[in-house]
């Protein structure tokens, strides 16, 4: 298997002392920032992006791999120990995790989360290494019309599948698409929507928008309704996992991985759905009703699902250049910042980079398992940072990150304006992820649309010419019209019953 040989080559590159150091720094930083409440994985990656600007690509991406997985580990610690969980894909872990921590079993909860994440991360990364080359061989047959259909599906999926209000998701998507349109049209060199401001001719940077929507928007939102009173961090002491805990955990780990990886790989918006499904499944399969009192399966499954989804997200990102979650969109922006365009050719043109990256995911995963449990005390201290300082610090790093992109104060003003928008969106329940995806995928969708139509000389039927695009577009249409139709159907059933 050629892939195996290349993976071994990647390992050889990844275990140099310098790259190991990068991996270590990445995992530590990622966990530390991921632990901080109010910061989800997307924001972690966005805030730490500037650190990698000054490194050359291999080192930068190794650090990214560490930050990416580290952010998820950090988030688990927070969701178990903090009494008021926030980030959506860790809500499931918090349900049983909090109960376990309250019952004095915090250490066991953290243990099963850490080991489960490690297992899921390892299996997920292994699957990534196996599946990616296979997808690439299929992807070469995909034309611009198919890409356009995929992008459309990603738009629709991320807007309508998450959250309670698909219409608001679409509204967020429209904002993102507009922001993506600002700048110079690649194919004809015309300026669009730049208001005559020269700095906008290059378009609005994804990092600025991501940091503004996530970090500044969150900070403003928290400021408007700050939770006062002492921070309730539960104890992480208590006995570590017993043999019984291990016996109860290992199957949920595997089931969680099975849920997480495929959903992460599909344009279905990332980790929310698989963690939901994992929780529901574990609850149904539990042979004793400890759910509601601190069932370890309820932590093991969702955590594994979360991490497996994180690995799965990398499949379409690396092989097709298709981001399926906000975090993936930011990773894509990071690649583009180095002039590297992920896609079917990535595995051939940048083969050593990709395999080194995948090898570092394994290494980072292992480092996270080894480091996290002993360092729990440090993470707990981070959780207790007084909120005023925490959010002031977040804004400081937001300023650093966006200013470092172009050394232009205009970016900071833009940061504030978009941050205010992010605040409004949070307040009204408009999901933020679709905006980021619209921003980064919009130009891709447009380019492919125009290419497809240029090849067919303006014939719109080219968009549905290949069976692949027809199927994908049908799924997209279903995703939009399905829920309202089903809802009406149910209402009729309910009335009839």
């Amino acid at each position: 298997m050629e892939a195996f040989g290349q993976l071994m080559g990647g390992f050889a590159d990844a275990v140099t002392p310098l790259n190991l150091l990068f991996a270590l720094i990445g995992t530590l930083l990622g966990t530390a920032v991921g632990v901080l409440p109010g910061i989800g994985p997307a924001m972690t990656v966005a805030l730490l992006l500037p650190i990698t600007y000054v490194l050359e690509p291999t080192g930068a991406f190794i650090m990214f791999a560490g930050i990416y997985y580290g952010g998820m580990y950090g988030g688990s610690t927070t969701s178990i120990l903090l009494n008021t969980p926030g980030e959506s894909s860790s809500i499931m872990t918090a349900l049983e995790g909090n109960l376990m921590a309250k019952a004095g079993r915090g250490a066991a909860a953290l243990g099963t989360a850490a080991i489960g994440s490690f297992v899921a991360g390892t299996i997920g990364t292994l699957l990534l290494a196996l599946v990616a080359p296979a997808v690439v061989t299929l992807a070469v047959a995909i034309g611009p019309a198919d890409y356009f259909a995929l992008a459309l599906l990603a738009f629709v999926a991320v807007s309508t599948v998450l959250g309670a209000s698909p219409l608001r998701g679409l509204a967020s998507l429209c904002i993102g698409l507009f922001l993506g349109l600002v700048g110079t049209d690649l194919l004809t060199g015309q300026q669009r929507f730049t208001f005559g401001v020269p700095q906008l001719a290059d378009g609005i940077d994804v990092v600025v928008v991501a940091v503004a929507l996530f970090a500044v928007g969150e900070a403003l939102h928290v400021a408007s309704r700050l939770r006062h009173g002492p921070v309730e961090v539960m104890s992480s002491s208590g006995s570590f996992m017993t043999r019984e805990d291990l016996r109860r955990s290992w199957k949920p780990w595997l089931r969680g991985t099975a849920f997480g990886f495929p959903f992460g790989a599909l344009p279905a918006g990332g980790a929310e759905i698989p963690t939901f499904l994992s929780y529901a499944t574990e609850r149904r399969l539990a042979k004793h009703d400890s759910f509601g009192k601190g069932a370890i399966e309820g932590v093991a499954g969702p955590e594994a699902a979360n991490n497996a989804a994180a690995a799965g997200v990398l499949v379409p990102l690396l092989t097709l250049g298709l981001p399926t979650s906000a975090t993936a969109a930011i990773l894509l922006a990071a690649f583009q910042g180095y002039g590297i365009q992920p896609g079917p050719t990535l595995l051939t043109t940048e083969s050593s980079l990709v395999w080194t990256l995948i090898a570092s995911l394994f290494i980072g995963n292992t480092m996270l398992l080894v480091l996290n449990l002993p360092l729990v005390g440090v993470w707990v201290k981070l959780l207790k940072i007084p909120r005023p300082y925490l959010y002031a610090g977040i804004l400081m790093f937001a300023s650093l990150g966006s200013y470092a992109v172009n050394a232009d104060p205009l970016d900071l003003v833009l940061l504030l304006v978009i941050g205010l928008l992010g605040f409004a969106m949070r307040r009204f329940g408009w999901p933020v992820a679709p905006a980021v995806i619209g921003l980064i995928l919009g130009p891709v969708a447009e380019t492919n649309l125009r290419r497809a139509l240029a090849i067919s000389d303006g014939d719109l039927s080219a968009l549905v010419s290949s069976p692949f695009s027809v199927v994908v577009l049908l799924v997209a249409v279903l995703a939009v019209v399905g829920p309202p139709v089903l809802r009406r159907f149910r209402q009729r059933e309910a009335v009839a019953a």
Binding site: G38, P50, I51, T78, T84, P85, G86, L95, N98, L99, V161, S165, A171, C174, I175, F178, L181, T188, Q190, Q191, F193, V216, V222, A223, S224, L226, F276, A280, R284, A286, K293, R387, P388, Y389, Y391, A392, L395, M396, S399, L400, Y403, A404, A407, P409, L412, L416, G419, L420, A424, R426, F428, G429, W430, G442, A445, E446, L449, A454, R487, R490
Partner: protein, 208 residues
């Protein structure tokens, strides 16, 4: 076994893409996003004027997109789909979505406010804090090239921490000052990122 019977008798998970939330006693009220039909039937809260304004703005954005698209110059060579097509498409979609949402909001529909670890959904909105932070950030943006990043970000740090309720202003300023200088040294000297240091720092750290 009775446990299995119990499990079988529980409501089956169904639903298109998201299972019905099977909740033990919830820790926070409704931590799960409610199903779409549940949101519709929620008690009618007073019409959210803020969201109405935003939806209307979105609608106007769509109009702006369509009109602006018409003003994009098309180079003569372009044969089929030029730089106007996608903006027209996005603009039309934005008008539709903005309009539909505005109508929904007028009818009293409200999206669930985003939760968060540090957000208290019952609290009164503190516009003062939001305003101070916005002003502090704006001032920071304007001052950054004048007095350098570390000093201006320290001022912002102090203002933000104070508005969020830290005791006094001196302690945050000192904390902010230390952190910003350390960060500046690390990023500019060790990592080579461009951040203006301000006169004092540039002089103090002599090396290029």
């Amino acid at each position: 076994m009775s446990a299995h019977e119990q499990a079988a008798a529980e409501p089956r998970t169904s639903g298109p893409l998201m299972p019905e939330p099977l909740m033990p006693e919830p820790l926070t009220p409704e931590p799960l996003t409610p199903e779409p039909w549940e949101v519709e039937e929620a008690p009618r809260r007073p019409r959210n004027n803020g969201e109405l304004a935003l939806s209307t703005l979105l609608l106007l954005l769509g109009v702006y997109l369509v009109i602006g698209a018409g003003q994009i110059t098309i180079p003569g060579s372009s044969n089929t789909v030029g730089p106007r097509f996608f903006p027209y498409l996005v603009g039309a979609a934005t008008i539709v979505v903005g309009g539909l949402l505005a109508i929904r909001v007028l009818r009293g529909d409200q999206g669930p406010e985003e939760g968060g670890e540090d957000v208290d959904p019952e609290a009164q909105t503190s516009w003062r804090a939001v305003g101070i932070i916005a002003l502090a950030f704006l001032a920071h943006a304007l001052l950054i090239n004048v007095i350098g990043w570390p000093l201006s970000v320290t001022l912002m740090f102090g203002a933000v921490a104070w508005s969020l309720g830290s005791r006094g202003v001196i302690r945050p300023l000192i904390a902010g000052g230390i952190v910003s200088v350390v960060v500046w040294v690390v990023f500019v000297k060790a990592l080579g990122v461009t951040l203006p240091g301000g006169i004092l720092l540039e002089l103090a750290t002599g090396w290029p």
